[in-house]
Symmetry: none
Subunit: 232 residues, 2 copies
DNA sequence: CGGTTTTTTCACCGCTTTTTCACCGCGCAA
DNA sequence: TTGCGCGGTGAAAAAGCGGTGAAAAAACCG
C-alpha cells in the first residue's frame, strides 16, 4: 500500500522541491497552502504523515497541529525556518513528532520521514517457515499453531541456529555460545539437544527438513519460506 | 509509574549534565558507559527510552541501536557530536527515532523526549481477562467484581507480571524490580508470593490459568484464553 | 504495648532437564 | 575388507527447579 504524505506550506517553491523527491520514494503526495485548507485536505486525504510549515496564513502551524491531534494520532513533522528553542519546544509539545529547521538536507528529511512512519508499524519479530513459527520476544515456538514447549537449552540452541539461518553453525560454536567458552570441547552436548529439537520440531525427525546436518561441518537451519524482503 | 530513561554515553560529563535535569522532570535515570554495558543495562532496566551516543568503546551506537531493535521497539534518541548528513541518515535508518546534534539545548532535548514518549503511550489502565480486572492506576484488583486484597509485595509482583503480560518474566527479573537489584539471587521470595497470588486470584490455584509457570524460565501472565494443554 | 498481618527463611518432595556414557551405523580411505 | 571419524540413539545418573508447608522474624495498627 502506498503511503500518503500531506505537505502543508504556503511557499510553492518548497512544495515543488519536496514533492518529486517524495514521489520518487514511492509516496503519494498531496499539498495544502494554508492552515484551513490543510485541515480540509487532512480529512479528505487521510495521510499517513503530515509535513507542516509553521508560518502560514489563516491558521498557524501550531494551530493545525492541535486540530489534527484532536482527531488523530497521525505523525506530524514540522519543517520551519524558525529554529529558536522556544519554537521547537512549542511545536513538539503541541503534538509534533519531529522538527526540522529549514534549510534542511533532503536525505535527512527522507530519513526522518522513514523513522516516523516506521514507528507506527508494529513489526512482528516472527520467524516463520512452513509449519513453524518462532516468536523471539515471547520466547514461544509454535508448530502448526500449537505451542511447543522447549527447555532453556533447547531454545538457546534453536535460537543460535535460527540466528544464522540458512548458514552453517559448527557444534563448537553452538557449545561456546550456549554453555560458555570453557565448554568448547564438550560438543557431545549438542548431539543430544539437536535430537530432542528434531523430535519436537520436525514432522519426520529421521529426515529433518529444518535442522539439517552438514556432514563434517555443523548444522544449518533451513528456512523453507524463501520470501526475501527488499527494504527501501 | 515513573518512566525510566537509559543514558548511554562514554563521557561522564554529559551524563552528569543530563541526569539531574531528567530526574527533575520525574524520570528515573540509569546510565551505561559503553555499548556492551548498554545492552546489559537495557535488558535489566527495560527503559522506556534510550538516549544514545554514537561514539563509544566496545560497540558503537549504531550497533547498540540494531541490537536493541532486534528485541524491542523501545524508542531511541541518538545524541551525538556528529552532525553530518550521513550519520543522521544512518542512525535513523538503523532504528533511531530521533537525532539530536551536540551541543544541544536542554529544553529541546526534554521536548523531544516528551514527544517520543508521547507516541509510545497506549494507555490501558484497565486489564481484564475472564473474571479478573486489574486497575493499574488505582492499584485495585477485582475478581468477579469483588475486590481482592493484595499486600504491597503481592501487588508489585502482579504488576510486574502484568506489565509483560503474555511474555515470560524470570524470577530474577521480578526480584530485581520488586525488591531491588541487590536481591538478584533471592529468588526464593518469588515462590512464596506467586503461591499467595495464585491462591487469591486463580479459580483453581493448583491449575493456574493466569499466572503460568514456564518451566525453567520464569512466569507468564496469561491474558487471552490461550489454551495451553497441560497433562493432569 | 499486644495482636494481627505480612514477609522471610528453610527443608522436603517430586518432576524435568541436563549430563554422561556406551553403543550403533554410515561413509570414506588405506 | 577393515579401521576410523563422525553423527545418531538410548538410557540411566545427577543436578536443578518449582511447589508446598510451616515456623520465625518483621512490620503494621490500634
Amino acid at each position: 500500500m502506498k503511503q500518503r504524505i500531506l505537505i502543508v506550506d504556503d511557499d510553492p517553491g518548497i512544495v515543488a522541491a519536496i514533492t518529486p523527491a517524495l514521489r520518487a520514494q514511492g509516496y503519494e503526495v498531496a499539498a495544502a497552502h494554508d492552515g484551513e485548507l490543510a485541515l480540509a485536505a487532512f480529512r479528505q486525504v487521510e495521510p499517513h504523515l503530515v509535513l507542516l510549515d509553521l508560518v502560514m496564513p489563516k491558521l498557524g502551524g501550531i494551530g493545525v497541529c492541535q486540530q489534527i491531534r484532536q482527531q488523530s494520532a497521525t505523525p506530524i513533522i514540522v519543517v520551519s525556518v524558525k529554529g529558536a528553542e522556544a519554537d521547537i519546544v512549542t511545536a513538539l509539545d503541541n503534538g509534533a513528532d519531529d522538527y526540522l529547521v529549514k534549510p534542511f538536507r533532503l536525505s535527512e528529511l527522507l530519513a526522518r520521514i522513514r523513522a516516523v512512519l516506521r514507528r507506527g508499524r508494529t513489526p512482528q519479530p516472527l520467524i516463520e517457515c512452513a509449519d513453524l513459527v518462532i516468536d523471539t520476544t515471547r520466547r514461544i515456538v509454535l508448530r502448526q499453531g500449537q505451542p511447543v514447549s522447549l527447555t532453556p537449552i533447547e531454545y538457546a540452541v534453536l535460537a543460535e541456529l535460527v540466528a544464522h539461518r540458512n548458514g552453517v553453525v559448527t557444534a563448537r560454536q553452538i557449545v561456546q555460545r550456549v554453555w560458555g567458552p570453557q565448554y568448547a570441547d564438550a560438543t557431545d552436548y549438542v548431539k543430544g539437544v539437536i535430537r530432542r529439537l528434531r523430535v519436537k520440531l520436525e514432522p519426520d525427525p529421521a529426515h529433518p527438513r529444518y535442522i539439517i546436518t552438514e556432514p563434517h561441518v555443523g548444522y544449518r537451519f533451513n528456512d523453507a519460506s524463501g520470501a526475501v524482503s527488499s527494504p527501501s
